[in-house]
Amino acid sequence: MTIAEIGAALRSKKISVRELTEETLQRVADANQRLNAFITVTDVAARLRAAVLDHELARGVDRGPLHGIPIAHKDNIFTRGVRTTGGSKIFADFVPDYDATIVSQLNDAGANVIGKTGLHEFAYGITSNNPHFGAIRNPWDPERVPGGSSGGSAAAVVAGLVPLATGTDTGGSIRIPASFCGVVGLKPTYERVSRRGVMPLGLTLDHAGVLAATVRDVALALSPIAKHSSGYRPVAHADLRGMRIGVPENFFVERIAPDVMLSFRAAVQTVAALGARVTEIKLPDVEALNVAGRIVQLSEVSALLARYLDRRDEFGRDIQVLVEQGRLIPAIDYLNAQRVRTVLVRDFSKIWKHLDCLMTPATPMTAPKIGEMNVAIGTFTEDVRTAATRLTRPFNVLGWPALALPCGFSSAGMPIGLQMVAPPQQEDTLLQAGAALEDAFGIVGRHPPT
């Protein structure tokens, strides 16, 4: 059920928040052994809060569309009195004494926290194959990764355990799991959603956002958390008439798995059929964005994690490698990467003179198998991490809002993700385009068989 459908059921008294919460907790209990999507389930607090939210509704106090809606928070987002591990052994027993701003905003909007979802260690990777808390499984195929780092959030949403979850995105950590699991994930404009109380990773690359089963559900969740929110909600029959949508003719259509390319091309045709003005566009140097972004990220993360070097044996091997790389990068290279970024942001921003929106595949491939280190795309073999972040990282470097949504399935039955990108602060454009596309695709909100 969508958030709007659950809300209607609550308000018509077909179900109470308490009943909804019990059903949700039961689903989590049934599925978590198989999927490992949750690190912590806050069942006692969720039941207490459900009673309060029921009481409010009975008194005519309605907090809005999220009133009573079960939510899960990624476990690198502070929750007062509830341990927040960051997926790391080092923070395994860390209990914050305050809620992250995004948590308190969603609480104020009436959401009911069910628990904390698993992630790649320190949110620093794309598999969510966590050495301390176990591998999170993709509900479409438990032998495959759900993506990461917000893997538990995406798995929980697509398995129908919760309708809404939070995530964070430093190089693609919301959009990659959205793509691999077949859910909708929004990375808003840089700093549009508060990062207070989110464990930092890439100091100038981190974004907080949400994952849900539909674009319209994402819109409902964005409203209370976005600074200067317009409260925009896509209409029932959103359209694309007159929207100027750019389709890259370089980089984003190179080294793409055939199944993904087929779905992407079909999505472009759909967009045109819905009345958009589709323009092929040659983008400036996207590879340069990835180079600058990787240098910035390595340096910034190591600046944060270097204080734990005396405990590096408690890091997974992939984290050890990345942390060591980051602390060897000279300050001059970090600073020049940030200056390159300034130049690139200026160059790329020129595309918005002629476009409202850009569309690309979200990831060049579908979810790899757990433990797979390299992925073959056509005749090209690439490291899984580099491949998965190749199409998402550029928009962390640019700071632009980006939405991932499902646009098809591979021949192996795995979801394929589409990425829509807009100019800074233009999340409404993304939501409008995304809503029109989810209506047209008819696959958004589909859950795997249990």
Partner: protein, 55 residues
């Protein structure tokens, strides 16, 4: 180009030897790419600060 192996040995604490085969290739690749990109940075170019174009 940087002698990453020497830098790794000189770091405090040093980078564990067993990690070097995974640590160094990416640094070499990124350094080579950055050297090309930084040639085009005008002297007055400031650090990215997250704000939209200030020009």
């Amino acid at each position: 180009m940087t002698n990453w192996k020497a830098l790794a040995a000189a770091a405090e604490p040093p980078v564990p030897e067993n990690l070097l085969p995974d640590v160094i290739p990416a640094l070499e690749e990124l350094e080579a790419a950055l050297r090309v990109l930084e040639r085009d940075i005008a002297p007055e170019t400031l650090l990215w600060n997250g704000r939209e174009d200030e020009e």
